[in-house]
């Protein structure tokens, strides 16, 4: 009741002489012998994976110049080995209006039609038939009786062909190397990103710890404003002390004396008694040498000096 059915696709035979196909559904493509090279070989190896390494050298002297892909499968104690041009097959598919999305799988006619009885016509002038287990494409005139090829009931084998769609542009080995380099760069970048993010988190934690340790306000604007206030207090207190020290260090004449010193609202006032009008310039000069910015005036009998702190 719940048996799964593998979807069966219709198969079409693709040759360079085939008419255009206008496909609505997916199909399996059976490649004509004109689209590949095949050999039957006996090799002292057991597995197909071992054969695959040897394929380029096995075809070395027989193939015209080109960027070939290779395939193989085992049949009894022997191997069928294939060489094909991906670009030739893909171009042929394109010429015959076969979109890549319409293709379920691609097979060599060799593997799918190995049990062909007699000869079969693939078009008006060409037929296929099997000789010494190899499927051959020959002119129809060479064979005696040739019926039209019927692959409507064909059940595909497992020997499907993988086409490298871009193999003719860039060597797949180079692509793999580029991919490996890209992945390594990605990993390095990702690692650096993680490390940088961790450092950022550590700095943020340290900053938070500073806020907690020194009981800082939540924003730096508030803290800067508070610091500005304390800096102002500090600089004014320093200036007050320096200015007082200059005033106390003044060398006065015996008749002159500092009678009052006051500081309020950032104004330091010093009141000198006994200073004769016109003689205050001596004290003024002493203050000027200390680069003290001050105002002075006579009030009643005293001379007043005002320093803005």
């Amino acid at each position: 009741m719940f048996t799964k059915f593998k979807k069966q696709y219709k198969s079409i035979f693709l040759d360079q002489s085939s008419p255009p196909f206008y496909l609505k559904d997916k199909v399996n493509i059976i490649l004509s012998p004109s689209l590949y090279w095949v050999k039957k070989v006996s090799l002292p190896v057991k597995y197909v994976r071992d054969v695959k390494k040897l394929l380029p050298s096995l075809f070395e002297d027989t193939l015209p110049e080109g960027n070939y892909s290779y395939g193989a499968y085992k049949s009894g104690d022997e191997f069928f080995i294939f060489a094909y041009l991906d670009k030739l097959i893909l171009d042929t598919m394109a010429k015959k209006k076969i979109a890549p999305s319409s293709i379920a799988n691609v097979y060599f006619a060799q593997s799918e039609l190995s049990h062909l009885q007699g000869a079969a016509k693939i078009n008006a002038s060409q037929s296929i038939y099997i000789k010494d287990e190899i499927l051959l494409l020959v002119p129809t005139a060479w064979v005696q009786e040739s019926a039209d090829l019927d692959i409507s009931e064909l059940i595909p084998t497992k020997h499907s062909v993988t086409l490298a769609q871009f193999g003719h542009i860039v060597d797949s080995k180079i692509l793999k190397k580029i991919a490996v380099i890209m992945v390594v760069i990605l990993l390095l970048t990702a690692t650096e990103y993680v490390i940088t993010a961790q450092k950022l988190a550590q700095i943020t934690e340290l900053k938070d710890a500073l806020f907690a340790k020194y009981d800082l306000k939540s924003t730096m604007i508030q803290n800067k404003s508070i610091l500005k206030k304390y800096d102002s207090i500090h600089s004014k207190q320093m200036k007050l002390r320096t200015s007082i020290s200059y005033i106390l260090a003044l060398k006065l004449n015996p008749a002159e004396q500092l009678s009052q010193l006051s500081y309020k609202n950032n104004i330091l006032k010093a009141e000198f008694s006994g200073v004769v009008k016109g003689k205050e310039s001596r004290i003024s000069e002493l203050l000027k040498t200390k680069e003290v910015d001050f105002k002075s005036s006579f009030k009643d009998n005293s001379w007043q000096v005002e320093i803005s702190i």
Partner: protein, 135 residues
């Protein structure tokens, strides 16, 4: 036949790389800013903490003043103290000039926020003073 185009994989890798590089660049920039901000905060907090301790630590100021005023030369002088919410006032209507000099040298050389000061000399030996320290 619907194989993934290797160029698409390459493009995906490039997009991921660009995304990572963009994020890395942003994070590095944030890290640089965070380092500068941390250094500034560290400097600010150290300075602010120091200044607060000098000008805003009520208990330190009170105990320091107490130590000064309890010195033998000042203990006998007629110095009044008035504690307010915002600070402390110390004053005297009549104090010996030498005692006042001693007191002023201690206060002016110490770390106090003097907001008001008035010293009036009455004679060669006597003076009055009013000094307000705020916190």
């Amino acid at each position: 036949m619907n194989r993934i185009n290797p160029l698409h994989i390459g493009l995906l890798l490039v997009v991921i790389l660009m995304f990572l590089v963009f994020n890395l660049s942003n994070t590095k920039s944030e890290l640089a800013k965070a380092k500068v901000s941390y250094t500034q905060t560290a400097k600010l907090s150290t300075r602010l903490s120091g200044l607060k301790e000098v000008y805003d630590d009520k208990e330190r100021i009170k105990s320091s003043l107490k130590r000064i005023l309890e010195q033998s030369s000042l203990k006998s002088a007629n110095i009044e103290q008035e504690l307010k919410r915002t600070g402390i006032i110390i004053s005297s209507e009549d104090v010996d000039i030498n005692v006042l000099n001693f007191l002023m040298s201690k206060l002016l050389n110490g770390a106090y926020h003097i907001s008001t000061l008035k010293i009036t000399k009455h004679s060669k030996t006597n003076a009055s003073f009013y000094l307000e320290i705020t916190w």
